[in-house]
């Protein structure tokens, strides 16, 4: 599965990278982030593009699992 590592990146980069990945119509994608703002922004973006998002916290990092609904 494709993984977008957006940890340590300031907005809008985590969303830009997610956007680039979903452009190919990918059905499943994992995005790694480490900031609340990035988590919220990527989640909101993914939802607007029809992906269901599951969030898992591991220490200071978040793993966002995007799945085309």
């Amino acid at each position: 599965m494709m993984i977008v590592d957006a940890r340590g990146l300031l907005c809008p980069e985590p969303v830009v990278r997610t956007q680039r990945a979903v452009k190919d119509g990918i059905s499943e994608l994992t995005v790694l982030v480490d900031a609340e703002a990035a988590k919220e922004n990527v989640t909101r973006f993914a939802a607007s593009r029809g992906y269901a998002v599951a969030v898992q916290q591991e220490g200071v990092d978040y793993t966002l699992s995007l799945k085309k609904a």
Binding site: L9, L10, C11, P12, D34, A37, R44, V60
Partner: protein, 349 residues
Amino acid sequence: MKQRNFWVILTGVIIGIAALALTLLGNPGNMGFCIACFLRDTSGALKLHSAEVVQYMRPEIVGMILGSMIIAMISKEFKPRGGSSPMTRFVIAIVVMVGALVFLGCPLRMMLRVGGGDLNAIVGLVGFIAGIFVGTLWMRGGFTLKRAYAQSMTEGLVLPIIAAVLMAMSVFLPSLFAASESGPGAMHAPILIALGVGLIVGGLCQRSRFCTVAASRDAMMFKDWSMLWGFAAVIVTTIVGNLILGKFNLSFADQPVAHTDGLWNFLGMALVGWGSVLLGGCPLRQVILAGEGNSDAAVTVTGFVVGAAICHNFGLASSPKGPTVNGMIAVAVGFVILTLVGVLNREKA
């Protein structure tokens, strides 16, 4: 209403009311808040520049940094981070400050000026949006200042501690600092009120991720309109407030701390918009991120302070009479610098 929109709009309304109140209590016209102007005044208070009319240790900024820090700590979002091209950010921050002081205000003050009926600020707003658009083209093209990494608690606390110590010193040892006797630097709300309002606004901005650049940027890049609600809320609140207070004055001429040179109002704010997109947020957002322990943002805020000193030491800042030749040259150089920064920081997708 979505929870995010609620927080963003609430922040916008509170910023608008706070700005009106601070102006009534003594801050300069349409300058209840201005990150650029206030850091410029602070830079003057620290004698980094000697423009006698703009020297004052502004409590609002200190309050915002500490308000953001307190709320971030309570919500477990205080995460020291740093190392994302700090020196490049420092340079971009100087360029952004040049643009802001040629226009005479950061994006937040631009909004407050629009809310006061200052039509020059509308010209600035158009330039700001144009600049943001150029910035988004670079972001789409793979621009990145690379990732930040976790840092120690100490690293994250350095700027908040410096801000708090300077604030305390300015109250208890005022003779150490420069303070304007006339001009905008001499106009200010009572210290404790300004500090308290800063704390509240800083905390709210931390919760809502309020950012004047994100408003247009996210709409352009992702069709995400949520932050625009906050942007609109600030302007609507200040228009209504100024109308009620009888301070709404729709005109180009005779606006407080503003000039009427449309071209340089446009270009100054275009520089601010473009540079802020590269930085990942507007000057206000950088102050809030610095409070959350982001030392790249702390370096950026330091860059603003140094940039303000450069602006006044080398005659780059505009005055109500208009922009200076040096300022015009500096804006042109700023566009060259942002282009170079863009070209040299692209990552292949």
